[in-house]
């Protein structure tokens, strides 16, 4: 018996557990690529339009920060600029979650112990998780190639784009293999790997965003060389189709996997490498109630989001200062931003578009915070409700934390955006307007929150999937709605479509009031349903 005995059996088990989840990831990512590619093919048909897009990308630090540097002025190049960054990040997330799910999470639940007692080698669990994640990345590469090629761009470039995304995913499977050995909980393993991913994105963004433009072309600066996302960008799909940078991914993956295996040899099943800190022997008074407990359980997630959105707000504000000059140079882009942001002054339109997107992103925090209730319900909630705590009181404690947390994250984002813009533009004129543009997202976010609460009350078993799907739909409607010219009733489904586009538009009180009322009604429905139903253990 070798240390790998049982690997294939465990890989089959992992695939069986993921038989819905992984196909959804793969299809979702392929759909994002396919839809973007066909919308690009429809929007930028002539060489002149494609050249204008490329010029905009190259001259705008904003565009380079979010989209990377366009490989060439062609339909394929635009597809890369529009999709590569987001696909690379999502592929990395898919890989991280898959590896941690089949390694550290198994240890946390005790499954790994049971499996380890059978005829299974010491390295089988980790190897099986890596096989599944890397297999998913390979399949994703092929699907992305097919999806983008189907939109009418060259096949060779599509294959290279798929390979670049798949290679990025594979490296982060390796990162997760290591963090799963070091961290002691699945949550911490996911969080650490996601932080590495965030750093990789920031390094790439800094390398691209700060690069000087010379003679209408631009080359990434050194920080991009420290990021696997930056390496993957260097294959330059459709322009160069140069695969050698992917060798760096292969080498890094090999090093990470080797390290992960070495770490498994030096630790016990169920433990981490980091020492577990001891806690206080008695509880602080502030913990002793449903609200104190909810805050304690939710604060970590809030701090993480506030820090991330602080950085994002600062970046947005800094690049917003040059929006006028960049957007003014391209009628097409100005048109797109105008449609997203609601017209008017270009800087205002830019910020309105960005804040609309930011609102939906921050709703991700709200959904995550509220769904903590489901995790509690299948865990320690039974013991809490066996105390003198009513169900509405428990639920309202979590809702309070999530709502105040959302307001806080919005405020942090808005202030960071406003102050960074003020510093870059050398004027305090827009501070109030930009902070308000972030805060005005609150009612729409709360009505989505009300929807999540209603689902927890009415359909507890499905609530997690439905809530995330609802957020995804809002994101798609917000991003693609104006560009694809979706029917109005589809656009109206997202609460974020009804938020006034501050600072470009005026503050309309009616939609805000209606959104807030919807939030209240949905929350009340959720509370009532939860009070009446069986606990779903």
């Amino acid at each position: 018996m070798s240390t790998f005995t049982g690997t294939l059996r465990l890989a089959r088990l992992a695939l069986r557990r993921d038989r819905v989840r992984l196909p959804l990831w793969l299809l979702g990512l392929t759909a994002v690529a396919g839809v973007s590619a066909s919308s690009v093919a429809g929007l930028y048909t002539s060489e002149r339009e494609q050249a204008a897009y490329a010029r905009t990308n190259i001259t705008s630090a904003v565009s380079r920060v979010f989209n990377g540097i366009i490989p060439e002025a062609s339909a394929g190049g635009i597809v890369v600029a529009e999709t590569f960054s987001i696909l690379a990040v999502l592929a990395a997330l898919m890989s991280i979650l898959a590896v941690v799910r089949h390694t550290r999470q198994n240890e946390e639940t005790g499954r790994a112990e049971m499996i380890g007692s059978a005829v299974v080698g010491r390295h089988a669990g980790l190897t099986a998780a890596l096989l599944v994640a890397l297999g998913a990345d390979a399949l994703l590469a092929a699907l992305l190639a097919a999806g983008t090629a189907a939109a009418g761009v060259p096949l060779a470039g599509s294959l290279v784009l798929g390979a670049a995304v798949g290679a990025t995913g594979a490296v982060f499977a390796g990162v997760a293999a290591v963090t799963a050995q070091i961290a002691e909980s699945a949550r911490a393993a996911n969080g650490t790997a996601a932080a590495v991913l965030g750093l990789a994105f920031l390094l790439r963004a800094a390398g691209d965003g700060l690069a000087p433009v010379e003679d209408g072309s631009v080359t990434s600066l050194w920080p991009s060389w420290l990021s696997p996302i930056g390496w993957a960008q260097r294959v330059r799909p459709f322009a160069a189709d140069d695969l050698w940078p992917l060798a760096m991914h292969a080498v890094l993956l090999a090093v990470l996997v080797r390290a992960a295996f070495a770490l498994t040899d030096h630790r016990d099943v169920g433990t981490g490498m980091l020492p577990v800190r001891r806690g206080p022997a008695t509880a602080a008074r502030s913990l002793l109630g449903p609200l104190g407990l909810a805050w304690r359980l939710q604060r970590g997630v809030l701090y993480g989001w506030a820090a991330g959105m602080l950085v994002m707000g600062l970046a947005l504000g800094a690049v917003g200062a040059e929006a006028e000059e960049v957007l003014g140079s391209s009628a097409e882009l100005a048109d797109v931003v105008g449609r997203l942001g609601g017209g008017g002054d270009l800087v205002d339109a830019f910020f309105a578009a960005m804040m609309g997107l930011t609102g939906v992103i921050i709703a991700g925090y709200t959904v995550q915070a509220l769904l903590r209730m489901r995790a509690e319900e299948t865990g320690p909630l039974e013991a809490v409700l066996a105390g003198a705590v009513s169900r509405p009181r428990w639920m309202l404690a979590h809702i309070t934390c999530a709502v105040l947390g959302t307001a806080a994250v919005l405020l942090v984002t808005g202030l960071a955006n406003a102050l960074a813009y003020a510093a870059a533009a050398g004027s305090l004129d827009r501070v109030g307007a930009l902070t308000g543009a972030a805060l005005v997202q609150l009612p729409a976010t709360l009505s989505l929150a009300g929807f999540v609460v209603a689902m927890i009350g009415l359909l507890p078993d499905r609530s997690v999937a439905i809530s995330w799907a609802a957020l995804g739909i809002c994101l798609l409607i917000g991003q693609l709605g104006p560009i694809l010219e979706l029917p109005q009733w589809v656009t109206n489904l997202s609460p974020f479509s009804h938020t006034p586009s501050l600072p470009a538009a005026d503050l309309a009180l009616l939609p805000i009031t209606v959104l807030a009322a919807a939030a209240l009604v949905l929350t009340a429905a959720g509370l009532t349903a939860f009070r009446r139903r069986d606990l779903a253990f």
């Binding site: 022997a281 509880a283 002793l288 304690r296 359980l297 039974e382 003198a388 009513s390």
Partner: protein, 303 residues
């Protein structure tokens, strides 16, 4: 109010599965009541209905004089619960979890808490994530026994404890009883129930098959008798209530129903009894009889 818990005809289904089927359970105030049944018989479901965590489909349920669904919050101030599967918050310390669980039901006795931590040998500074099953159970037990309440609802509380800790647990139950508290103890560790409980209810497939004091239950069942006589015993197999007779010359062993005991004694006297041992049935035998040990029929159909 003489009954802490009174359940009559309780039914509860989950989809197509009928978890409780007209179950009855009465727990008198001040008694330690054993709640017995194999895995899946409906013990935890009954307890969760009692705690207002699940809603009953039909039947009457009274808990400490109130309705466990409608009056949940008020009633929970007077009871402490130890779940069968103790789930805690991974990043809270054991001490924090104990204080929190105590505070949620209205506070706990700090001196008693510290004393219990000592007796159960639990380190309160460790994170709950790092506790074993037994240690998580100790957290819930310390939080429960450090609360001064009328009723303790304990769902298989010792399944993860070692024998030493089990005896600490038994001491705690005895102390509760001395103070006049009521305990509902669900278990399938029969020796523990035999040692601790005044009365027991045995359930199977969601309904109660037997309920009463151990003596009463024993009364319904057979006693194992072995006897040595001067002359070989004859005619025993003709007596009503005698089962499983094995005779070998002057030695015989058999089982006898409680009602037939006197008659059997009279019969044996005629053969010159040299030695006689009679063992009342253990709870285990009693239990087995209800759960289809092959070749044995229940003495009395309960329903």
């Amino acid at each position: 109010m003489s009954d802490a818990i009174q359940i009559i005809d309780l039914s509860k289904s989950f989809g197509d599965v009928r978890a409780l089927d007209r179950l009855d359970l009465t727990v008198r105030t001040g008694e330690v009541h054993g709640f017995l049944g194999p895995n899946g018989a409906g013990k935890s479901t009954t307890i969760r209905v009692l705690l207002g965590l699940l809603r009953r489909d039909s039947g009457t349920v009274r808990l400490l004089g109130g309705d466990p669904w409608k009056d949940a919050v008020a009633l929970h101030r007077h009871l402490a619960y130890v779940p069968g599967e103790v789930n805690l918050w991974g990043n809270l310390s054991g001490g924090e979890a104990i204080d929190l669980l105590g505070a949620l039901r209205g506070g706990l006795d700090r001196a008693r808490r510290d004393e219990l931590l000592d007796r159960f040998r639990l380190d309160p500074t460790k994170r709950c994530r790092t506790y074993s099953k037994g240690n998580r159970q100790k957290v819930a037990l310390v939080a429960a026994f450090a609360s001064d309440v009328d009723l303790y609802v304990l769902d298989e509380p010792t399944s993860g404890l070692d024998p030493l800790m089990e005896s600490v647990f038994q001491d705690c139950v005895a102390e509760v009883r001395r103070k006049g508290g009521t305990v509902l103890l669900s278990s399938h560790i029969l020796a523990e129930v035999e040692k601790l409980c005044d009365r027991v209810s045995i359930i199977r497939d969601g309904y109660t098959v037997e309920s009463g004091t151990l003596d009463e239950l024993r009364h319904l069942t057979r006693t194992a008798v072995t006897v040595e006589t001067e002359r070989p015993v004859t005619g025993l197999d003709g007596l009503a209530g005698v089962h499983g007779l094995r005779a070998d010359g002057t030695a015989a062993s058999f089982e006898v129903e409680a009602a037939a005991m006197a008659e059997v004694h009279r019969h044996l006297a005629g053969f010159g009894v040299r030695a006689l041992t009679s063992n009342p049935p253990t709870l285990e035998e009693l239990f087995m009889r209800h759960y289809g040990e092959p070749g044995r029929e229940p003495v009395e159909a309960a329903r």
